[in-house]
C-alpha cells in the first residue's frame, strides 16, 4: 500500500514535469466527463419533473376530459346524439367496472366571484364529493364538499388557498362568498397545494390554489340567462376522474371505461382519455431512449479523450525508454513497469474526470439558471463519468504500458 502511494507520488512528479502537455492531453476527458455529467443531470431533471407531475395526477387514476369540439364536430356529435361527458357516463362506469374504487365528476364554470382582489381570478368548479378524496385534497380548515351537499344542492363552497388568502377575513369557514348573484357559504379551505408546473399541456395538474369548489348540481343556479351560447357549452361535464383500487388495475379498467364511454357517446370522440400510469411508462421509455443516446455520446467522447491519452502515453514511453531501463536494472519487473505507466494514465484521466465534474456542475448550474430547466445532479451522474474516466485510463493506458514493459532492459539502458 505504502509502495503504491509512492508509485502514485512518483507518477504525479513525472506528469508535473510536463504540466501543459498533461493538461492538454486530459482536455478530451474533461470535455467527455463534462458532457456526460450535464446530459445525465438534464435528463434526470426532466424525468423527475415529468414523473412528479404524473404522480400528482395519481397513478391509480384515469381521466376523461371533455374535448373542445369545432362547430363541424359539434354538429356531427349532435347528429349522433352525443351530449359530451355526463352523469350517465359516471354512473355506467361505476356499475360497469369491477375495479373502480371511486369516480368523480368535475365541471368548470364561467362565473364571476365578487370581492376578490384583482390579481386572482378564481376558477369556479362544480365537483362531486369524492373528487377531494381522489385528488388527496387536504383541508387546512373545515371540510370538503360532502355527498349530502350535492344531493340537497346546498349552496356551500370550498376555497383554494390563494383564493382564501385573497379574500382575507371573508375567506374563512362560516363566511359567504358571492358567485354571480348567489351566496355560497364557505365550509372549508384547502391546504396550500404545491403544484408541479407543467410544460406538456396534456398532463397539466390543476392549480387548486386558485379554485373554488361548489357541489355539483348547484351550478345550474349560476348560469346567466343572457348567455345562451355559454349555456350549451357548459352542459356536459369537463372531467371525469376514475380511481381504481390498485395501480395494476388501471390499464385493464381503462379499456373497459373506454368501451363503455364509446357506447354511450355513440362513437363520437368528444372526450379524451388520460392515463397517468401510461404516461409514466411512456416517460420511462423515453428516458431509456435518452439514456441510450447518452451512452453513445459518452462512449464517443471518452473514446476521443482516451485516444488522446493513449497518444500521450506512447510519447511518454518513447521519451522515457532510458528510465524504464533504469527501473528494470534496480529491480522492477514487467508488472511494475505496467503498473507505473497505468497509474500515470489513470492519474491523467482521473484528474480529467475531476476537472470535468467540476466544470460539468458549473455548466449544469449555468444552464439551470439561464434556461429555468429543472436539473437533478444525482450521485450517479457524478460517479458514472468518474468511473468511466478511470476505466478509460486503464483501457487506453494499457497498450503503452505493455509496450514499455516488453522492452529489453539492456537495450533500454543503452537507449540514447
Amino acid at each position: 500500500m505504502d509502495k503504491f502511494i509512492k508509485t502514485i507520488r512518483i507518477a504525479t512528479r513525472s506528469l508535473m514535469q510536463h504540466k501543459l502537455r498533461s493538461f492538454l492531453s486530459v482536455l478530451g476527458i474533461v470535455c467527455g466527463v463534462m458532457a456526460v455529467l450535464s446530459m445525465i443531470s438534464i435528463g434526470e431533471g426532466a424525468k423527475q419533473e415529468v414523473v412528479q407531475q404524473i404522480e400528482q395526477l395519481g397513478t391509480r387514476n384515469i381521466y376523461l376530459k371533455a374535448v373542445n369540439l369545432t362547430s363541424d364536430q359539434r354538429q356531427k356529435a349532435r347528429e349522433r346524439l352525443s351530449t359530451g361527458l355526463t352523469h350517465l357516463d359516471v354512473k355506467r362506469i361505476l356499475t360497469g367496472c369491477r375495479d373502480v374504487h371511486l369516480a368523480a365528476a368535475l365541471k368548470e364554470i364561467t362565473a364571476t366571484v365578487a370581492d376578490t382582489p384583482g390579481e386572482i381570478s378564481p376558477q369556479v368548479v362544480a365537483a362531486s364529493a369524492s373528487y377531494g378524496e381522489i385528488q388527496n385534497l387536504v383541508l387546512s380548515r373545515g371540510r370538503f364538499i360532502g355527498a349530502l351537499d350535492a344531493l340537497q344542492k346546498n349552496m356551500v363552497c370550498v376555497l383554494g388557498d390563494d383564493v382564501a388568502e385573497g379574500m382575507g377575513a371573508q375567506g374563512k369557514p362560516g363566511q359567504y362568498v358571492r358567485i354571480e348573484n348567489h351566496l355560497f357559504r364557505v365550509v372549508g379551505v384547502l391546504n396550500r397545494f404545491h403544484r408541479k408546473e407543467s410544460k406538456a399541456g396534456a398532463i397539466a395538474v390543476r392549480n387548486y390554489n386558485e379554485m373554488i369548489f361548489i357541489p355539483l348540481g348547484t351550478e345550474s343556479n349560476l348560469v346567466r340567462p343572457a348567455s345562451r351560447e355559454q349555456r350549451s357549452s357548459d352542459q356536459g361535464l369537463s372531467e371525469v376522474v376514475i380511481q381504481v383500487h390498485r395501480t395494476d388495475q388501471v390499464l385493464s379498467t381503462a379499456k373497459i371505461v373506454d368501451r363503455i364511454v364509446q357506447v354511450t357517446h355513440n362513437n363520437v370522440k368528444d372526450y379524451q382519455m388520460i392515463i397517468p400510469r401510461e404516461l409514466l411508462q411512456q416517460a420511462r421509455k423515453t428516458q431509456r431512449t435518452f439514456n441510450i443516446v447518452l451512452g453513445a455520446i459518452a462512449g464517443v467522447s471518452l473514446l476521443v479523450g482516451g485516444i488522446g491519452i493513449m497518444n500521450i502515453m506512447l510519447a511518454t514511453v518513447t521519451e522515457r525508454i532510458r528510465e524504464i531501463g533504469i527501473r528494470r536494472a534496480v529491480g522492477a519487473n514487467r508488472n511494475n513497469i505496467i503498473t507505473q505507466f497505468l497509474v500515470e494514465a489513470v492519474i491523467l484521466t482521473f484528474t480529467g474526470g475531476l476537472i470535468g465534474i467540476a466544470a460539468g456542475i458549473g455548466a449544469v448550474a449555468a444552464i439551470a439558471t439561464l434556461s429555468g430547466w429543472y436539473i437533478a445532479i444525482t450521485p450517479w451522474a457524478i460517479a458514472a463519468p468518474l468511473v468511466m474516466s478511470i476505466l478509460a485510463g486503464i483501457f487506453f493506458g494499457l497498450y503503452p504500458a505493455v509496450q514499455a514493459a516488453r522492452m529489453d532492459p539492456v537495450a533500454a539502458l543503452r537507449h540514447e
Partner: protein
Amino acid sequence: MSPSLIDAAGIGKEYCIGSRTIAVLNNVDFSVKKGEFVAVMGPSGSGKSTLLHILGCLDRPSAGTYRFDDRDVLSASDRELSRLRAEYIGFVFQTFNLVSALNIYENVELPFLYSSRRASLAHKRITEAIDQVGLGKRMNHKPAELSGGEMQRVAIARAISIEPKLILADEPTGNLDTGTGAEILELFRRLHQEGVTIVMVTHDRSVADSAQRCVQLVDGKVGSG
C-alpha cells in the same frame, strides 16, 4: 576459503542482427567469491558490458550455466530475476542513469519500490547511503543540479542503499575527470573494505588497478589477467 557468489561457466551470448549472428561472448567462465573486488578489463566491443548485464541478471546468456549466490539464475522467471536485482544487486553505470524527474532521495529510493523491504527500514537505509557518499545535505536536489561526480555518487548511493551482495560497475569513472574518478574509486575501495563484493568493468588499466583481481576479456573470451 569464502564461498562463491558468482559462478558462471561456459557463458555464450549471441545477437541476431538481421540475418547475421554475432557472438559477443564465447564460452566464458567467470566466478567471484564473496567479498572480492574484481575488475574486468578489455577493449571496447570485447563483451565486458554484456557479461556484466548477464551477471546482473538483466540479460540471459545464450549458452552456459550461471549460479548467483547458489541460485540457478537461468531457469528463473522475469519476476524472480527482478527480485534478485532489487534485493541483492546494485548497478553503477558510466552514464550514471538517474531519473531526471526525481530528486536525489527519490532516485535512491527507487529499488525499495520493487523490494519487499519495510518502508521504515528503507528510509533509514536511504538516508544512510546518501550520507555515506557525502550528499546528505542535498537530498532534495534534482540530478540536473549536480556535477558528474555527484551524480555518480547518487548512483552509488542507490546501489549500496539496498545493502547488496554484489555491486556491478560499468565504467564508473568513464565520464568523469581524473580527480573525480579517483574519488569514486576511493569510494569503491572503502565499500570493498566494508565487505561488499564488487565487479567493475573498465578499459582503463589504472582504474583496474584498484581492484584485487583483474580478468581480461578479448573478443568475448577470457584471456590471462
